[in-house]
């Protein structure tokens, strides 16, 4: 067969470019595996019973607890220990060297963060649910109205705008007015971020309910609201629940808005109107910490967050696959 003149070149380009899309996919999968791998291995090494049952412990207290001595200086006194080397070398005034606070392993735990995250995210979800679900119902049942387009666009704006913006708005609205960082402010900020997720999944899941079911209900003479609540929502409920789970996972991992609203705390607090700890905040602050022990705790907090995300996503995956299979 007579081959055209540029045939070899075209074949070459074809192979190279197809190969490069495989390469691109590898470029996405490799960091994913790297991140998950690091978080799971380094994070797992930070886990202990104490990690889940204890709260923050200042590094030098822990060192003292480890060797049975008294703390080198009072951790609650901000001026204590100034000028005393903390790396184990002898102080200039000839007193005995203080134990090296940078050396020890992780001390304390993140129970306060776990409790705080559950409270803040749970409350936020509670605020987001009614708006999100009813907006989703509206978008699905009155989907062709012009106003629905506006609502849909506003949803996209909420999900597309930076999470820090939600924090800023609640900071202005709640924190400045009340002169107090509070858990409830954090919940409100997370609400803003969770509403679009709940809305869009509710809408999508309701749309998946076959039109024939709506028609059947209408054929029996049922009004829209009755068929919506007794036929359509029950049919879509598993899907809506998965959307709520995803919203929870997303909210639990948000950090930026919490910096501006709940501030963080070193103790277990259940007061909604006071600062509270949260896991992502701990991960953030412990990452910036100079103490290696606290860095390890950051990995541990990242591990817990990652597991939450993984488990939620896999559950959702399983649930939606079973649904897709059933509807066929």
């Amino acid at each position: 067969m007579n081959t055209p003149k540029n045939y070899r070149w075209r074949k070459f380009v074809d192979q190279v470019m197809r190969g490069s899309t495989v390469f691109a996919t590898g470029c996405a999968v490799i960091p994913l595996i790297a991140i998950i791998g690091y978080v799971l291995t380094l994070g797992a090494s930070a886990l202990s019973v104490q990690f889940f049952t204890d709260v923050y412990q200042p590094p030098n207290m822990a060192q003292a607890a480890a060797d049975g001595s008294t703390p080198a200086f009072d951790p609650n006194d901000p001026f204590a220990g100034i000028g005393v080397p903390t790396d184990g070398t002898a102080p200039a005034d000839g007193t005995a060297p203080v134990a090296d606070v940078y050396a020890g392993g992780p001390v304390g735990g993140v129970l306060h963060g776990i409790i705080g995250t559950l409270i803040i995210t749970g409350m936020g979800l509670l605020f987001a649910l009614p708006i999100g679900i009813f907006a989703g119902i509206y978008l699905s049942e009155y989907r062709n109205e012009r106003y629905a387009t506006i609502v849909r666009f506003c949803c996209d704006v909420l999900s597309g705008s930076p999470s820090i913006v939600a924090g800023v708005v609640i900071y202005i609205l709640v924190v400045i007015r009340s002169h107090e960082f509070s858990a409830i402010a954090g919940s409100l900020a997370l609400m803003i971020l969770m509403i679009p997720i709940v809305t869009r999944t509710t809408e999508e899941m309701l749309k998946l309910v076959p039109e024939s079911m709506r028609e059947a209900a209408r054929g029996l003479g049922a009004p829209t609201w009755y068929s919506t609540f007794t036929v359509i929502i029950p049919a879509a409920l598993p899907g809506i629940v998965t959307g709520v789970m995803l919203a929870f996972a997303r909210g639990a991992g948000e950090t930026a808005p919490l910096i501006l609203t709940v501030l963080g705390s070193n103790v277990i607090s259940t007061n909604l109107f006071a600062p509270m700890a949260s896991l992502p905040l701990l991960a953030y602050r412990y990452t910036e910490s100079p103490y290696p022990g606290e860095n390890t705790l950051a990995w541990g907090a990242a591990f817990v967050l990652m597991m939450l995300v993984l488990v939620m996503n896999i559950l959702v995956r399983v649930a939606t696959r079973r649904r897709a299979g059933a509807s066929r």
Binding site: M1, T3, P4, K5, N6, Y7, R10, K11
Partner: protein, 259 residues
């Protein structure tokens, strides 16, 4: 110009054989029509003739199809080269949405490496002339291809196929989406083209086959085994098929009792 010899061609979708092995001769300078009820595999067989069949996920074909003397299913044969020589026009008129009329026709030429403007201009005009579209579009070549009417878009698709000077042109129900006037235009065009091309057309319209074709192949569905499977029941000159069919199934089909 090339003849095609099909022997023991068996198209598959996954593990399911779609058509019983086909043996058929396609002559040059003739229009061969393939007719039959829906589901008889006539489009599938057509798509095997330029290896478009295998682009569907899981689809494959066994057997040999000789283009002149060369097996297009041979082990070292590249499908892209076959498709360059065996052009195809589809049921739905397709214009590339982001290309204007000129570029729609030039698409294949550019792929083949033609880049000089004068050369392209001439080839595009020739192709549009042969598709009898030139006079209608010569002043609007920079308009998007999708701006044309359905019949014009189908002739644009034919022009695109003709531009790269294929030996064989396959048409898969090219008129089923068109109105009667556009259909008449295309039929007239095909009759003109057959002097320089080998043409195979799948059609669901027996009248169309009778009007334009020289040879007619009739496919039917065999449901006796429970698994419907297409088969070639008769291939003969068009006048024979329509006036004295040799197979009783053909006779009942053309007299309107089947399909």
């Amino acid at each position: 110009m090339s003849s095609m010899t099909i022997s023991q061609l068996a198209p598959f979708y996954g593990a399911r054989q779609a058509v019983k092995a086909v043996d058929m001769q396609i002559a040059t300078q003739e229009i061969t029509a393939i007719i039959g009820p829906s589901g008889c595999g006539k489009s599938t067989v057509l798509r095997c003739l330029n290896r478009m069949h295998e682009t569907i996920l899981g689809a494959s074909a066994k057997g040999t199809v000789l283009l002149n003397d060369e097996d297009i299913y041979g082990s070292n044969v590249d499908a892209t080269l076959i498709r360059r020589r065996v052009g195809m026009v589809f049921q739905q008129p397709v214009a590339f949405r982001t290309r204007n009329i000129y570029e729609n026709v030039a698409a294949g030429l550019r792929i083949q490496g033609m880049s000089r403007k004068a050369e392209l201009d001439q080839a595009v005009e020739e192709a549009l002339q042969s598709a009898v579209l030139w006079d209608e579009v010569k002043d609007v070549l920079s308009k998007p291809g999708t701006a044309l009417s359905g019949g014009q878009q189908q002739r644009l698709a034919i022009a695109r196929a003709l531009a790269i000077k294929p030996d064989v042109l396959l048409l898969d129900e090219p008129c089923s989406a068109l109105d009667p006037i556009a259909t008449a235009n295309i039929e007239e065009l095909l009759v003109q083209l057959k002097t320089t091309l080998t043409i195979v057309i799948v059609t669901h319209s027996m009248q169309q086959a009778a009007r334009i074709s020289d040879q007619t192949a009739v496919f039917m569905v065999d449901t006796t085994s429970g698994n419907p499977i297409g088969e070639l029941v008769e291939k003969s000159s068009t006048s024979n098929v329509f006036t004295k069919p040799s197979d009783p199934r053909t006779e009942s089909y053309i007299s309107g009792r089947v399909g």
